[in-house]
């Protein structure tokens, strides 16, 4: 339609003229995408461990050495009592306290089994989980080693099932591969949902919407004219993001670029719909900001960027299925890391499309009534 053409021409001209806004919209996400993955590292290294060695034997020293030699643990120090060790954990000077009891070596040989005491600061669950995991696997190895060394015959005859483990899709266990695609999604999300809402409400607040209302521009054309620039901006930022991912983090999508962009467009369709919906419920920019901030915050925390959706209770997982970002993040991660194709992500695409349809229809109906 010709009116749409002229409307889009005007919108783009206006957008291009607001250099500072454009700058923030493009530069801020780029800088964040470059820097933030450096921070977003879930891999647990340098768990600091404070040791109480009541045994003071070469044996206990060997165990301690093995624990601290691995690179997962950093020795925070030796103290003489468990109480002191706990105090260090309390003061965040150590994450883990290890106590080797008196006569450790002797009791181990005599009773065939001996305990050692570990206390972990479990406030930060991931660290506690992994700290515990690493420790138990190091102790297990140590245990096997001494068993082989001291009882030459015992283990040779016993049947042993061993586990050969391999890691696919991310052999170097690089957290960036996992986080960068997701962070990119959060940035695109903020842009599409929030800015679009803001832009429309700005016209409402200024009163310039009146001027549009007297012209023959139909309401749905107006809406399309307002949203298309942000669709384009979203695609631009996404592309920039992929480039940054490649240049700075050497992340090259294994999957098909076309799959990515198709998913992006469907996703933007849903998020712009949300932005539009928010604009129909806001009379002032402050309100638009409040409402979109509410949603974006919840999306960021619950869509699986920083904590796994699978760990959530069933009711929470159900709610999360209605969030478009959770689907797009899943798509990004599977396509970029594993090369998933359309057939693998159909469920997610359909979910986003349906949510998008609902949001947009609701928004347009609302818009017709109130504007």
């Amino acid at each position: 339609m010709r009116t749409l053409f002229f409307l889009l021409e005007k919108e783009f001209r206006q957008l291009m003229r607001r250099k500072s806004l454009l700058g923030i919209l493009i530069i801020a996400p780029s800088i964040q995408l470059i820097l933030m993955p450096l921070a977003a590292d879930f891999s647990v290294k340098n768990v600091s461990i404070v040791v109480v060695d009541n045994d003071h034997s070469t044996f206990s020293q060997k165990l301690i050495n093995k624990i601290t030699a691995g690179g997962n643990f950093k020795l925070a120090g030796y103290v003489s009592s468990y109480k002191e060790a706990l105090k260090m954990v309390e003061q965040d000077k150590a994450d883990l306290a290890l106590q080797i009891p008196l006569n450790f070596e002797k009791n181990l040989v005599r009773e065939n089994s001996e305990k050692m005491f570990v206390a972990i600061n479990a406030i930060e669950g991931t660290k506690a989980n992994l700290g515990g995991s690493y420790l138990s696997s190091i102790v297990r190895d140590f245990d096997n080693d001494i068993r082989v060394e001291w009882t030459h015959n015992a283990t040779v005859d016993a049947p042993q099932i061993s586990v050969a483990s391999s890691n696919w899709y991310n052999p170097f266990m690089n957290y960036n591969l996992y986080m960068v695609p997701a962070i990119l999604v959060t940035l695109v999300t903020a842009l599409s949902a929030m800015q679009s809402a803001f832009n429309i409400v700005q016209e409402k607040e200024n009163g310039t919407i009146e001027q549009i209302n007297v012209t023959p521009i139909k309401k749905h054309i107006f809406i399309i004219g307002k949203l298309v620039p942000f669709l384009v901006l979203g695609i631009v930022i996404f592309t920039l993001g992929l480039l940054i991912g490649r240049i700075f983090y050497h992340i090259v999508p294994v999957g098909n670029i076309f799959v990515l962009y198709t998913s992006l467009v469907i996703y933007l369709f849903a998020m712009l719909g949300l932005g539009l919906l928010i604009s129909t419920y806001s009379a002032t920019q402050m309100q638009a900001m409040s409402l979109s901030f509410f949603f974006i915050n919840i999306f960021n925390m619950m869509s699986g960027v920083f904590s796994s959706v699978d760990s959530m209770p069933a009711w929470a997982q159900a709610i999360v299925q209605t969030f478009p970002p959770s689907h797009f993040i899943k798509i990004m991660r599977t396509v970029v890391l594993k090369g998933s194709g359309f057939s693998d992500i159909t469920g997610h695409l359909i979910a986003m499309a349906i949510i998008g349809l609902v949001l947009n229809v609701w928004a347009v109906l609302n818009y017709r009534k109130t504007a």
Partner: protein, 246 residues
Amino acid sequence: MEHVIKTEKLTKRFGDFIACNELSFEVGKGEIFGFLGANGAGKTTAMRMLCGLLKPTSGKASVAGFDVFTQTEKIKMSIGYMSQKFSLYDDLTVAENIRFYAGIYGMRTKQIKEKTKELLDELGLQNEEKTLVSALPLGWKQKLAFSVSIVHAPDIVFLDEPTGGVDPVTRRQFWDLIYHAADKGVTVFVTTHYMDEAEYCNRVSIMVDGVIAALDSPANLKHEFNCDNMEDVFYQLARKAKRSDG
């Protein structure tokens, strides 16, 4: 005389509040019709109904031959509109604004080019073609806004307090433009607070508390109310009003 605006008992209620009460009047083609009234009298509501922005509660009205209830889209194509607060986009140039509005109203590219040149010549803005509207002085902005509002040669143009905040010389020049347009057959429906401008109109209506308290040529009204100027006429009518701002 052909009537381009016809209303018959046009009414608008908001709940219990009657903003416009059974307005009945007609405006002829090429007429300069002044629509006066104190704030809160119902002028803006009436104008919005005529522009197709607001659905009336009851009554009948037609603008440019189209019904305000059922044919608002056609009305919009046939009218121009200039509001006091805003008409042009500050962050677009003069030429870009002209192009936008001309394009919205369906003019073809060649026509737009020609019209742009014509407008710029007429207003003496040839050098400002690529200037952002925000950089123009207020008087030029308003003249440009008026010209843009009739760029598509509509039958009627609605002007909502178009000359606020400019000096008398510029106002005069603005009214020259209005006369020029009226001569070419465009009907001008203008609301204003400036009583001297009321004198420039062919006919004037004065709304008080939602009804039309007076409707006639300025000369007749002055005679009827025994005043030398429109200001006194207005004052006599308006001070009886029960409704007002604030």
